[in-house]
């Protein structure tokens, strides 16, 4: 198929002027889209709303985690908020509460739009969301009271995981139903990624739960399974949703089809193949057969192929339209995220090389890597999609362009500073650890200044999140602008935008 057949080539009427000859078709499509948006309204807003509440909670937990690292006596005497519980609580709130729920919200909406089908029985989907919240609440509660399983990224005890799994089954059946009743012959790129994400997540999660709790594997294999899970949760779940969303938002906002469909296909399949094989490089030099680690390092290096194809595709689509980054909030967040995906992957390759791993293994560099993946890449793309989707659900436009700009810059500088601090700190720490003539405590000392810097960057992110939550709250309570044009970041030059397109 050629790119012009991509089902939603006609850009959104709200953003461009239309030509007269297509008015009738466009009118029909516009009504159709309005119906689809209306059907997804309640569940998607429910998922977004819950996600944002978790985001705020996770941000507070993150602040506590970060401060306690350089002020260990802060609130240390209560078992519930000891560092070793706050840290996994933060991580799980962000992973399962914020990122997964926001990702599901976006994915459901995209799926409905792309399948050109209304969401049937939307209220039932809310049950899924409610159960998901319950699962996260149970799991985080369990961590706080000291019932963590001790497996990283899987600290939720089985009773919480089961609730999560039931919730997920509801969500995924709805997504599959929509896919089953899709209209139109073509399956757009975004749908590949979303379908992949919806199917990979339960398989990966289920297989891991079985191997850790139902039929537990022996000894070090638990660590291998845990890393396999963490890695695939990042790539096959968050990564797939993030990339799929970027493939929708970038062409949509600039009103131009994706540059190359074939590049996208190559990117998708090499991504699925190679990214799913990375992960074991994090066990480098550990008690494992060397081939496992080598295979993952090789797979890491091979992820250059999807990174290059996806990056090239987005770049060529954007070619000549970069000026729009001045105006569209969605585009700005999405392009930031798409670029961060490239940096994230390159950093992953760099850290996985054996010669480098000797210096950065067991250091804060791995935390930098998780944050660039989950925040700079995934979360920024999801923010972008929320700026696009929420106005279409509530029928209002974002109230303040200034708040969006503040959100963007605090998030961008915050995460940039955080990754820089953790990465440099990790190198300093790893370097000191590598040198046996230095005392071990010197390694910890060397990273402390960077950890303080990380706390500062965390404050920027906190500001960003509270601004966004406030703005989202305004939208939710119908306090957005009622206008026909979307909120641009720099509204005075709206004319220029239209001319440009």
């Amino acid at each position: 198929m050629n790119p012009s057949e991509v089902p939603f080539t006609p850009p959104d009427p709200a953003e461009v002027t239309t030509t007269d000859s297509e008015v009738t078709t466009l009118d029909v499509e516009q009504v159709e889209r309005a119906l689809i948006d209306a059907s997804t309204r309640i569940p998607v807003l429910f998922f977004y709303g819950s996600a944002i509440v978790w985001l705020l909670l996770g941000t507070l937990l993150a602040g506590l985690t970060s401060w306690k690292l350089h002020a260990p006596d802060l609130l240390a005497d209560c078992s519930w908020i000891t560092w070793g519980r706050v840290r996994p609580a933060h991580m799980n709130v962000m992973v399962y509460g914020w990122a997964s729920m926001a990702g599901i919200g976006t994915a459901i909406w995209l799926m409905a739009r792309l399948c050109r089908t209304t969401l049937r029985h939307p209220l039932l989907l809310i049950t899924g969301g409610a159960f998901w919240n319950l699962g996260v609440l149970l799991g985080v509660g369990a961590i706080i009271v000291g019932d963590s399983t001790g497996y990283e990224w899987l600290e939720f005890p089985p009773y919480a995981s089961i609730v999560l799994f039931v919730a997920y089954s509801l969500v995924v059946s709805w997504a599959m139903l929509m896919f089953r009743f899709r209209r139109g012959e073509n399956i757009y790129i975004t749908q590949w990624y979303l379908l992949g994400a919806f199917l990979w997540f339960p398989w990966v999660y289920g297989a891991t739960q079985i191997m850790l709790f139902a039929v537990p594997v022996q000894g070090v294999m638990q660590a291998a399974v845990t890393w396999w899970f963490g890695n695939n949760l990042m790539f096959l779940w968050f990564g797939a949703i993030g990339l799929g969303t970027a493939y929708y938002m970038i062409p949509k906002v600039i009103g131009r089809p994706v540059y190359s469909y074939h590049l996208a296909a190559i990117g998708f399949w090499t991504y699925a193949l190679f990214a799913s094989w990375t992960g074991m490089q994090r066990l480098v030099d550990g008690p494992f057969p060397a081939w496992m680690i080598t295979a993952s390092i090789a797979a890491s290096i091979l992820t250059l192929i999807p990174v290059a194809t996806v990056g090239l595709n987005h770049h060529m689509t954007m070619q000549g339209y970069f000026g729009l980054l001045r105006y569209s909030p969605t585009l700005r967040f999405t392009v930031f995220g798409a670029f961060a995906y490239t940096v994230f992957s390159l950093m992953g390759i760099f850290l996985s090389l054996r010669s480098i791993a000797g210096y950065v293994h067991f250091s804060e560099a791995s935390i930098a890597y998780s944050h660039i993946g989950l925040y700079a890449f995934f979360t920024m793309i999801i923010f972008g999609s929320m700026y696009y989707i929420v106005p279409r659900l509530v029928g209002r436009e974002w109230r303040y362009a200034t708040l969006i700009k503040l959100h963007f810059w605090s998030s961008a500088y915050g995460v940039g500073l955080m990754v820089l601090m953790l990465f440099l700190g990790g190198i300093a720490q790893g370097n000191s650890m590598h040198d046996p003539t230095l005392q071990f405590t010197e390694a910890t000392d060397s990273v402390l200044p960077y950890l303080r810097g990380r706390s500062v960057s965390g404050m920027l992110l906190t500001i960003a999140h509270f601004i966004f939550a406030f703005h989202f709250g305004l939208m939710l309570f119908g306090l957005g602008r009622s206008a026909s044009v979307p909120t641009f970041l720099n509204p005075k030059e709206e004319e220029a935008v239209k001319e440009h397109i």
Binding site: S79, G84, W277, P287, F288, Q439, T444
Partner: protein
């Protein structure tokens, strides 16, 4: 793309490929190991942990120790773990067959704990600390050499002597393993211990002498309790960022006699005349777990590193230990 079937098969195929390759095959390769035994079927290693240590593992998981402490020793050619005396050989899959969860860890904001139990002073030294050292440490370095080996006494005496002169310096020297490498090295009657025991045991015996300011020998059970209760008062002079786990301890009024297991707290942490701080059962289990961590047993697939014999010049303790020595000369 029009082939929905192809899409589904591809999505499933990539998942199955990764799952088989990275979990099923490795599990087939290293997931069903048995403990190792010698020809007579004795000397079995590893063995399951005691009940208390098992419960301690849960405490370890619940309080997130794994986020800062790893439990794996890398080979000497790959990293400096063995130089740091964190172990005498690299860790092997067989070391972990009874571990559930296996806390390999991914971060070292604190030191590796694979052999923390092995690095503790042995039982008898722990039980009967040299009285000379605790009462009048500086009086005569030769006096505090009773039961332990010449190697240990030679190593410990200068540190103890210096300690009386300057408490700060002693506190600095105490957390470092092998307090004074120079005399330890120069004591010929050390009976050249076998490579299997020397690397781990010599620092341990050197630490066996209690510190004059009342801190028990490093890595002993009593030391762990103090360290968990108040990390920065035990490792005085260090900027350790380990949180205190005071919630695992109970502060209570002494009724009748002082409990045998009450922590010997000094300085700002001293609870006062009528009060005592005792470890909860959870704290005892956690320490039992720590004391059970030991990967020093030789495995046929992971030989002891020959280069692990004490190399004083490379020892991390070299620099801080040098300071008290100089002061003593003054």
């Amino acid at each position: 793309m029009k082939g929905v079937t192809g899409l589904f098969l591809g999505i499933f195929g990539t998942f199955a490929f990764s799952w088989t390759g990275l979990t099923l095959i490795p599990n087939w390769q290293i997931g069903h190991l048995d403990p190792q035994a010698d020809e007579e079927g004795t000397d079995i290693y590893p063995q399951p942990k005691s009940g208390m240590a098992q419960r301690g593992r849960k405490i370890y998981a619940a309080n997130g120790c794994v986020y800062c402490h790893s439990q794996q020793v890398r080979a000497d050619y790959a990293a400096s773990d063995i130089d740091r005396k964190w172990g005498t050989r690299r860790s092997a899959p067989r070391d972990y067959i009874f571990e559930r969860p296996a806390f390999l860890g991914k971060m070292r904001l604190g030191p590796d704990l694979s052999n923390i139990g092995k690095r503790a002073p042995s039982e008898e030294e722990n039980a009967s600390p040299s009285p000379a050292a605790s009462t009048s440490p500086g009086a005569s370095p030769a006096a505090n050499t009773p039961a332990s080996s010449p190697n240990a006494s030679a190593a410990s005496s200068p540190a103890a002597a210096a300690a009386s002169a300057s408490p700060a310096a002693s506190a600095n020297a105490s957390p470092a393993p092998a307090s004074s490498p120079a005399p330890a090295n120069s004591s010929p009657p050390a009976t050249s211990p076998s490579p299997a025991t020397s690397p781990a045991s010599s620092p341990a015996t050197a630490e066996a002498t209690p510190n004059p300011n009342g801190i028990p020998p490093q890595y002993s059970a009593a030391w762990h309790h103090l360290h968990l209760y108040s990390p920065r008062s035990v490792l005085a002079g260090s900027s350790s960022n380990m949180p205190a786990y005071k919630f695992l301890y109970e502060k209570r009024r002494i009724s009748g006699e002082r409990s045998a297991d009450a922590l010997k707290l000094t300085g700002a942490e001293n609870p006062g005349e009528d009060w005592e701080v005792v470890p909860s059962y959870d704290a005892k289990c956690l320490v039992a777990y720590l004391m059970s961590l030991d990967q020093s047993h030789e495995l046929k697939e992971a030989k002891l590193t020959s280069g692990a014999a004490p190399a004083p010049s490379a020892s991390p303790a070299a620099s801080p230990a040098a300071a008290p020595l100089k002061e003593e000369k003054k």
